[in-house]
């Protein structure tokens, strides 16, 4: 696949070796169930995408895995290696969440700083090079473009070097070209990790996901996974991908018109 991002590859050196099973998950806000009885398994080293209309609870489900949902919550998360998931996830949101008073490099090492560990600046610089921000390491976030900020956020996520990466619409605020580039980059640097990505873009899901789930309804239900063939990032002009896109749109509730492929 054509890529503008060929740089020395890393991050595949320690692929994730455990499945994560979410069982009977239930989250309610103000007495209304967002979802209940929800089961989802994230397979080891696979890229799972969660697709759905806005407000359906995709982000809530992702935040459930991150342990960020508070209040009326029940269900279990078990990992196949019998170690708790807590502390093994890295989180990336739609907003870059870069701290404006820290330089890009200082933002990348934030996790270590917050845990009172010694930051590994060498590794951080290496990751910044990897995401194409070598020259921006000492700039403040305000001096970066939207795409560069999300790259910095991706570098910060990779810096955590966690086996599980949770991404909440990380590319949705970007222009189409930057989005494509960042998708390619993410597919490459996250290979081998267990990833859960929330998106509202069916093509993004098919491009990156090994398994694509649609979440719809209220309370929300998960549809059976669609599994696009081949290795990500996939070619979105592929007829098979386009057919799967139509299927996803159908699951999302789009009307099939006679002109649709």
């Amino acid at each position: 696949m054509r890529s503008t991002e060929y740089a020395p590859q890393m991050a595949q050196n320690n692929p994730t070796r455990f499945d994560i099973a979410l069982r009977a998950a239930r989250v309610a806000f103000n007495g209304v169930d967002i979802f209940h009885d929800l089961d989802l398994t994230l397979q080891e080293g696979s890229f799972t995408c969660l697709l759905g209309p806005s407000g359906v609870g995709k982000s809530t489900l992702l935040r459930y895995f991150a342990g960020l949902v508070e209040g009326d919550v029940s269900g279990t998360i078990t990992c196949s290696d019998n170690i708790a998931l807590d502390g093994r996830v890295a989180y990336m949101a739609q907003q870059d969440l870069l701290l404006p008073w820290r330089s890009v490099l200082e933002n990348v090492v934030l996790g270590a700083v917050l845990r009172d560990e010694k930051p590994d600046y060498e590794k951080a610089s290496h990751l910044l090079t990897e995401v194409g921000l070598r020259d921006a390491a000492n700039l403040r976030p305000a001096e970066l473009s939207g795409g560069m900020k999300q790259r910095a956020a991706l570098a910060r996520t990779l810096m955590e070097d966690r086996p599980v990466v949770l991404m909440d619409e990380p590319f949705s605020a970007l222009d189409p070209l930057n989005r494509l580039r960042l998708q390619e980059l993410a597919a490459r640097v996250l290979r081998g990790k267990t990833v859960l990505l929330v998106t509202h873009d069916p093509l993004e899901a098919l491009r990156l996901g090994d398994r694509v789930h649609v979440l719809t309804g209220s309370p929300a239900r998960l549809q059976d996974a669609i599994t696009p063939k081949g290795q990500s990032p996939r070619n979105i002009a592929d007829p098979e991908i386009l057919a799967q896109q139509a299927e996803l749109l159908g699951q999302l509730g789009a009307e099939r018109s006679e002109g649709a492929a």
Binding site: S103, G111, A142, E160
Partner: protein
């Protein structure tokens, strides 16, 4: 450390606006003096009611030694009061933001403290702390305490939730979260409170001096007023004004330099 906010456009903006930056205060001062003179002419008020600018200027020059001697005290009271009040405000805001019981107990007390008119407190402070600097510093600190506390507390309790989520997934400790995210994030709010405080700080000192003192511009004004030396009263006022503006300007500059990442300070005068 890197202050690379596009030097080219900056330079251009500066050269275009430099004359205005310098001229603006001058224009304002001249306009104010002209208005003052106009008022004197139009109302034909006697000198013991509204002295013309020239008389006041003459008093400023002739009595500068006395004026400066008293100004020294007022300035010291204000500046010490400003820092004491800001320090107390910080000490109150942080535990209030961190521990909800502290918030529930302290907030009502703070509000009650604001319901007491400070004029009414001044005689008590003089009674308790004496005629010297202490009572005026306390007065200034009390006036400053509230805006700083409220602004800083507000900033501390409005940390971007995304940052808190991120920090949580990173396994941040409570203390590190405070020092590395919540405190720096609240600094712009603290700065706003401190700016307001800077503007009101001299009021506290002067009120304190009115109530009971043997030094300071407030004391000098009161005595000049009693002897109908209104030009002297105006001279004191002018010095107070000049000091307030200078103090505000310095504080504003220092705060901007200390928070270069703040969105508004990235773009000076457009």
């Amino acid at each position: 450390m890197s202050t690379q906010n596009n030097p080219h456009t900056n330079k251009k903006a500066l050269s275009e606006h430099r004359w205005l930056i310098l001229a603006r205060p001058l224009i304002i001062i001249i306009a104010l003096i002209a208005t003052w003179q106009l008022l004197v002419i139009v109302t034909s008020a006697p000198k013991y009611m509204l002295p013309p600018p020239a008389d006041v200027w003459h008093t400023l020059i002739a009595r500068h030694a006395v004026l400066l001697d008293h100004a020294k005290y007022t300035i010291a009271e204000t500046v010490i009061g400003l820092f004491a009040g800001a320090a107390l405000g910080t000490l109150a805001a942080i535990p209030m933001a961190l521990f909800s019981p502290v918030r529930f107990w302290l907030m009502p007390i703070l509000l009650v403290s604001q319901a007491i008119p400070f004029f009414a407190l001044a005689p008590l402070l003089v009674l308790w702390l004496g005629f010297g600097l202490a009572s005026k510093i306390a007065m200034a600190a009390l006036i400053i305490f509230f805006p700083v506390t409220v602004a800083f507390f507000d900033g501390l309790s409005r940390t971007e939730t995304g940052w808190l989520d991120l920090a949580r997934t990173m396994g941040a400790g409570r203390w590190r979260l405070l020092t590395h995210i919540r405190l720096p994030a609240a600094l712009p709010a603290f700065a706003s409170g401190f700016r307001v405080a800077t503007a009101v700080a001299p009021i506290g000192a002067v009120i304190g001096e009115w109530v009971g003192s043997s030094h300071g511009l407030g004391y000098l004004m009161l005595h000049a007023n009693a002897r109908v030396q209104i030009d002297m009263v105006f001279a004191c006022l002018l010095i107070l004004c000049a000091f307030s503006i200078t103090q505000y300007f310095i504080v504003d500059r220092v705060l901007r330099a200390a928070l270069p990442w703040q969105p508004d300070s990235l773009k000076p005068v457009r």
